[in-house]
């Protein structure tokens, strides 16, 4: 895990001082709300339907136990006893008082946390693979690259008033667990023929009202050019991205309008100029950062055997435990999707329990996933049963990872001021309809994602099944989409047809899953069957 040095500390401390002063000037009336808004947003502070919401950064989704406990403390002390983990691998607190925020930031800083650039038209908190450093299939740990980008993008003087928000994801395996190509910039760290590591750069992906899959812009950028190249990518966007229409201001629209080839040419020209400036950190700095992410001291000679005599435990292992690169270890995903719960929510007590488990069984490490779950990345297989029991005791052992009830849902109309419809009740009704775990397992991997409006924070375009809440003449209406994916088989979902009421959408999904069960070939997931047989059979069942 990255540890701050004096420089990191001094920058975060200066930021708190700055924000305290900005809050004071706002409260004393020296700034209009319009002027204050971008400043508070760059500190993750939103004004929502009922209160301020504070979004705390979890850089590339990695935390230690101490940091996790601090989130529990903030939930207890400044919120209503819970927090909401988001699709950006961050956490949001929904009931915050403006006057408390400087103090909250101070508390966060004691454990090397902050809310910097979790919102606003700037480069947002960098996201990554939640299995980084543990995954059996990675070429390297992507997090040193992500940390390098965190530092580069923090208070970047040129890129703080971009046309629109800017999201970067970094992964380092062919399996994409981070929806990499649905980011403004998606980076896959790869090895070239010479055995050298570098970034494969995709630019211009995104969800929102105009979803796009990022095209490949550069096949390989070595470390020595990495920052210069990204600086060039951003500068072209800052100069030419549209500012006349907020809905056309994301980089995906620029690239769509220019074409990927023209954009690439512009970036290359800019890169030639930028490369001369000496803004790329040296290898020694990369090595310094990478040393923080050295693998923990795994025990060797551990057995891979797991006692599966408890059937509930065995089911949980099959669903929520993934392969680890070290023999005798496994990656555990803790589901924050109990039937009837709010996807991504955790109580302060649950947060503390996960922190304790990480401390005792996972080398002090936790991860937040974009699917709104928590990962214990390094658990010895012989500890799995104890971890399972303790999770079960805390209501955290739902064995539903990647099943239909492992739903991504944005806060929707229950919290969000932009929403058209409620996401959470729909998620709850679907989870209840399919509550029987045997039935869920029978349906297999089925990624269901719900957004409460066209902004798509719930990633509905990337769901095998997606749901979009819209406003239809003053009533909430839900559109249904099939065939999206945020993984390495990335694709955008298609709308089935007319929308549904809240109960209607649950029925429609059930009918669609019946079509799948009747039509699937061996080994096919829902999305595979859909891709093979197309929309028609589903439409007939749903609307016929």
């Amino acid at each position: 895990m990255y540890k701050y040095d004096e420089y990191d500390h001094s920058i975060v401390a200066a930021r708190i001082d700055e924000f305290r002063d900005q809050v004071r000037r706002r409260l004393e009336g020296h700034m209009t709300e319009d002027q204050f808004k971008p400043l508070r947003l760059m500190n993750g502070l939103y004004l929502q339907l009922h209160a301020y919401m504070l979004r705390v950064a979890v850089p590339y989704g990695t935390m230690d136990s101490r940091q996790m406990r601090m989130l529990g403390r903030i939930a207890r002390k400044y919120d209503r006893g819970y927090g909401h983990f988001t699709t950006r691998q961050n956490i949001q607190f929904n009931w915050i008082k403006l006057a408390d925020t400087p103090e909250i930031l101070e508390e966060l800083a004691t454990v090397e946390m902050h809310a910097i650039q979790t919102s606003g038209n700037c480069i947002r908190n960098i996201s990554s693979d939640q299995f980084a450093g543990a995954a059996a299939d990675e070429v390297t740990d992507p997090r040193p690259w992500a940390e390098l980008l965190r530092q580069w993008s923090t208070f970047h003087p040129e890129f703080t008033y971009l046309p629109r928000k800017f999201k970067i994801a970094v992964i380092a395996s062919d399996t994409d667990r981070a929806a990499m190509r649905l980011h403004d910039i998606g980076i896959q760290i790869v090895k070239n023929d010479a055995g050298e590591l570098g970034g494969r750069i995709y630019v211009g992906g995104g969800m929102g009202r105009t979803p796009m899959i990022a095209p490949l812009i550069k096949d390989f950028v070595p470390f020595a050019d990495f920052i210069s190249y990204l600086e060039a990518c951003l500068r072209v966007y800052n100069r030419y991205g549209r500012r006349d229409n907020i809905y056309k201001a994301r980089i995906k629209i620029l690239i769509h309008e220019l074409g990927a080839d023209k954009y690439r040419e512009e970036v290359e020209a800019e890169f030639q100029a930028v490369k001369q400036l000496g803004i790329d950190p040296p290898q020694a700095e990369f090595d310094r950062i990478a040393a923080h992410f050295a693998p923990p001291a795994f025990e060797t000679g551990l057995s891979d055997a797991i006692d599966r005599s408890d059937p509930n435990f065995a089911a949980w292992v099959d669903q929520n435990v993934s392969a680890h690169k070290a023999a005798g270890y496994a990656v555990v995903t803790v589901s924050l999707k109990p039937t009837g719960g709010i996807p991504g929510d955790a109580s302060a007590d649950q947060i503390d329990i996960m922190a304790d488990l990480a401390e005792r069984f996972s080398f002090n490490e936790l991860r937040v996933t974009h699917a709104q779950n928590i990962v214990l990345p390094h658990v010895a297989k012989h500890d799995l049963f104890r971890v399972y029991q303790m999770l079960a005791h805390a209501g955290l052992a739902e064995a539903n990872l990647d099943l239909i009830s492992d739903i991504i849902a944005c806060p929707g109309l229950d919290y969000c001021s932009l929403a058209n419809a409620r996401s959470i009740p729909v998620a709850q009704k679907i989870a209840q309809r399919f509550a029987d775990l045997d039935r869920q397992r029978e349906l297999g991997e089925l990624k269901l994602k719900i957004s409460g409006c066209i902004n798509a924070c719930g990633h509905h375009h990337a769901g095998h099944i997606g749901i979009l809440g819209v406003d239809r003449k003053g009533t909430e209406n839900f559109q249904l989409l099939f065939g999206g994916s945020g993984a390495e088989d990335v694709s955008l979902g298609k709308i089935t047809g007319p929308g549904f009421s809240e109960d209607g959408i649950v029925d429609a999904i059930e009918k669609a899953t019946n079509v799948y069960l009747a039509q699937r070939d061996r080994g096919e997931r829902f999305v595979d069957t859909y891709r093979r047989i197309g929309m028609e059979p589903f439409k007939e069942a749903i609307y016929g």
């Binding site: 040095d5 420089y7 001094s10 920058i11 200066a14 001082d17 700055e18 002063d21 900005q22 000037r25 020296h30 002027q35 971008p38 400043l39 038209n121 530092q151 580069w152 923090t154 208070f155 970047h156 003087p157 040129e158 890129f159 703080t160 008033y161 971009l162 046309p163 920052i227 500068r235 800052n238 100069r239 500012r243 100029a273 930028v274 400036l277 000496g278 803004i279 950190p281 040296p282 020694a284 700095e285 310094r288």
Partner: protein
Amino acid sequence: MVDAIRFRDDEAHDEPAVTLDSFLGQSNATAVRIEAGEDARVLLPHLDRLALVEVSFPKFRDGRGYSSGRILREAGYTGELRAQGDVLVDQIPLMRRCGFDSFAPEAPVDAAVLEASLARYSVHYQAAADSHIPVWKRRNG
């Protein structure tokens, strides 16, 4: 319009800044104003005769001028670089880092707040168009 806030020792330039079109059309102007959407790179062949470049910030949210400033400085421009328009006190430190050394905000700026803002960060992570040594260089000697 209030007086420009300057971070230069030389005398303020007294020739008014002309538009980019008229600058390119006349050979003797030494001060030019570029609008947010204009390409600062067209000035690069003329940098040695320029004493003042004024970059317009029509709305504080419009960040194109930050790139214009850096592009000019990166190309070696040493004359006065002025940010004019909807320039707010919290933005001036960022603009300083992008090479601006003179500011003509539409609304007055509180001098004490500005002084505190400029002094607040003693180090910066990334290299830009100012003389700050980036953190990665400090760390690695």
